[in-house]
């Protein structure tokens, strides 16, 4: 770690109200939570008015908008359904993200109590609390999400780097000639130019190239 430079005396002190306005972050242990509360039924109303047009009445997701509830036990499925209930490790992230960045296109319009209520409703939608539950600053940290233990810090240094930090084969590396197993052209999901080529294909530089033998 390099030496830290000497201060130059630039900038000015941040005022408490400025910090309060911009630092709304909530940490996993509940640090940063404001005073407030909200219950499931209030959350259902607020969610219905602000969120359900994308995420569905039951947080199940409409069209291809994100699914917020369900998917329990699917994390080893071929196509896992990763939701707040099935995947997210901390409730703090739900409060924090909803409060600051949702609804999509109208962020930072939810009050503290609205956000508690929506968070309570999302817990209910995921089958994690009863319908009479009230979420408060004080009981927030008692909620443990189902997948709280589902994550571990990057371990590539132990599980991958030793395998890949070896002198690679340079000659006679294949036991048999290569065989094509997957072709993107068969899926045909790439944007195309008018002539049917993948979009952005380089234009031909000579007319001759169209007819020249390979």
């Amino acid at each position: 770690t390099p030496a830290v430079a000497e201060p130059l005396g630039l900038g000015r002190p941040a005022l408490p109200e400025e910090i309060a306005a911009w630092d709304a972050t909530v940490l996993p242990d509940g640090t940063g939570l404001p005073e407030g509360s909200g219950d499931v039924l209030t959350g259902e109303d607020v969610f219905g008015a602000n969120c359900a047009s994308c995420h569905g009445e039951f947080a199940e997701g409409l069209d291809s908008w994100p699914v917020l509830a369900g998917g329990d036990g699917t994390l080893t499925d071929p196509r896992p359904v990763k939701t707040i209930g099935s995947y997210w490790p901390y409730l703090s992230t739900v409060y924090d993200y909803v409060h600051r960045s949702m609804p999509f296109g109208q962020a930072q319009t939810l009050s503290v109590d609205d956000t508690y209520a929506i968070t309570a409703f999302l817990l209910y939608s995921n089958g994690l609390v009863e319908d009479d539950f009230t979420l408060t600053k004080d009981n927030f940290a008692t909620i443990v999400m189902p997948n709280a233990e589902g994550f571990y810090p990057d371990d590539r240094a132990e599980t991958e780097y030793p395998l890949f930090r070896v002198e690679p084969c340079m000659a006679d590396c294949r036991p048999a000639p290569p065989e094509v197993t997957k072709r993107a052209s068969e899926l045909n999901v790439t944007p195309r130019d008018g002539d049917g080529k993948p979009a952005g294909t380089l234009p031909p530089l000579t007319a001759a190239s169209e007819t020249a033998p390979a």
């Binding site: 002190p13 992230t93 294949r174 790439t190």
Partner: protein, 419 residues
């Protein structure tokens, strides 16, 4: 003369004749004189554009294919989406800003230097507010670095899906940044001993907050104002973004508005729900910050077929590693049976895009071409299969597997997987 270029009779004749001459073979064996040479062309006689025509220029019209492209079905909303750098058409290492990819979570916002504020708070001696003018008074540094989206190639985990390296490897750009070191800004506020993490967030609605361990923050993280010589583009974070060399693009927070010091990671949405990597046992890696060694052949590639026939062929591509410098790139034309080291052209800078070339003679038969990067830690870019054996197919992020292009005998090139 009008400003509108019109095809002249002379140019029309020249074009027709050139096409005819080309059919015979190359210029070296042309039987008829090339009128593009024997006839005086307009551009060799009359004026071109005056110097006051274009105060800030765009590429010539013939390069209109060299643009960012969106793949509509990848995301639900274009405000939280991705587009792709046309790496199939570029050379060298510096990405032109105007076609360098974008990834936003709530759109590219417009934030003036006058309205810009940067806050440092949390576990610091003195919480501070900086204006943009303040930031211009700190000592500056320069750094060239690649910004690769963690999801680059993510659609290819399960197979070969998109046709063209713009789409399969193009969530990347490489720029020369000028800015101030994050450690110098933190020194101004004074990090308290219990401060272990730095949380950074943007001014946009998504905020894109991410936690960075203090060690990295004090090492090479830059608060950048200039890219490739000029101010950042709006879509790249104007007027201020974070540059986090070697680390996943999501952490390069744009429109940076707050830096907060904590004793723990925030575990924000972008480091729990997103940018965590599912493994076969249903658990997931978190904090997979570094982008591992990777490469791709940019030509030939599906958007850059071989149209010139057999004979001399330039294979060109990009290699990069978040763990340091690229030391070697190997090329195979036979699906990985044999490998030959390519040339590194220009400099191989740490944590920056690196250009390689391999000059060969193509006999016109089909090839399976691949590139394999090696970095200064001795790490050799793995095959996709080697990665899948460890990670399965639902990792979503960090796909640095070797890309295979199937060069057909007609010169067309396909994205394939091989066994």
């Amino acid at each position: 003369m009008t400003d509108e270029p019109k095809p002249s009779r002379r140019a029309f004749l020249a074009g027709t004749a050139a096409a005819g001459a080309g059919l015979v073979a190359t210029a070296a064996t042309a039987q008829t004189a090339d009128p593009l040479i024997t006839e005086v062309q307009d551009w060799a006689s009359v004026f071109g554009d005056p110097v006051d025509a274009t105060p800030y220029g765009m590429p010539i019209e013939f390069e209109s294919h060299v643009v960012r492209r969106n793949v509509e079905w990848l995301t639900e909303s274009t405000a939280s989406s991705i587009n792709f750098t046309p790496i199939h058409a570029l050379e060298g290492t510096i990405t032109p800003q105007g076609c360098a990819f974008e990834r936003h979570h709530s759109g590219a916002i417009t934030l003036s230097k006058q309205d810009y504020r940067l806050m440092i708070n949390g576990l610091v001696e003195k919480p501070l507010i900086f204006t943009f003018e303040d930031l211009l008074r700190f000592p500056r540094q320069i750094s060239i670095a690649f910004c690769e989206c963690a999801a680059n190639g993510g659609m290819e985990w399960g197979g070969a899906q998109l046709e063209g390296c713009q789409f399969t490897q193009g969530m990347i750009h490489n720029m020369e940044y000028t800015g101030v070191m994050l450690r110098d800004l933190l020194a101004e506020a004074g990090v308290k001993p219990e401060g272990k993490w730095v949380y950074v967030e943007g001014a946009d609605a998504s905020s894109n907050g991410r936690s960075i361990p203090l060690e990295k923050a004090l090492d090479d993280v830059m608060v950048a104002f200039f890219a490739n010589g000029e101010a950042l583009r709006k879509e790249h974070g104007y007027p201020v973004r974070l540059v986090v060399p070697g680390w996943e693009g999501n952490m390069w927070v744009k429109w940076l508005r707050r830096i907060s010091v904590y004793d723990q990671a925030v575990e924000s949405r972008e480091e729990t729900s997103k940018y965590t990597d599912m493994m076969p046992d249903g658990r997931a890696r978190k904090w997979t910050w570094v982008m591992d060694a990777k490469s791709v052949i940019t030509q030939p590639s599906p958007q850059a077929p071989i149209r010139h026939g057999a004979g001399p062929l330039v294979i060109t591509g990009l290699a990069w590693s978040g763990n340091g410098r690229i030391t070697r790139v190997d090329i195979s034309t036979d699906g990985g049976n044999s490998w030959t080291p390519a040339r590194i052209t220009g400099e191989a800078r740490s944590k920056a895009l690196t250009r390689f070339h391999h000059d060969m003679t193509w006999d016109g038969s089909e090839m399976f071409i691949m590139s394999r990067a090696v970095d200064e830690t001795g790490y050799v870019q793995p095959t996709k299969q080697a990665l899948r054996e460890i990670r399965g197919t639902n990792n979503v992020y960090h796909n640095n597997g070797i890309q295979v292009w199937w060069v057909r005998a007609d010169g067309e090139v396909e994205n394939v997987e091989i066994a």
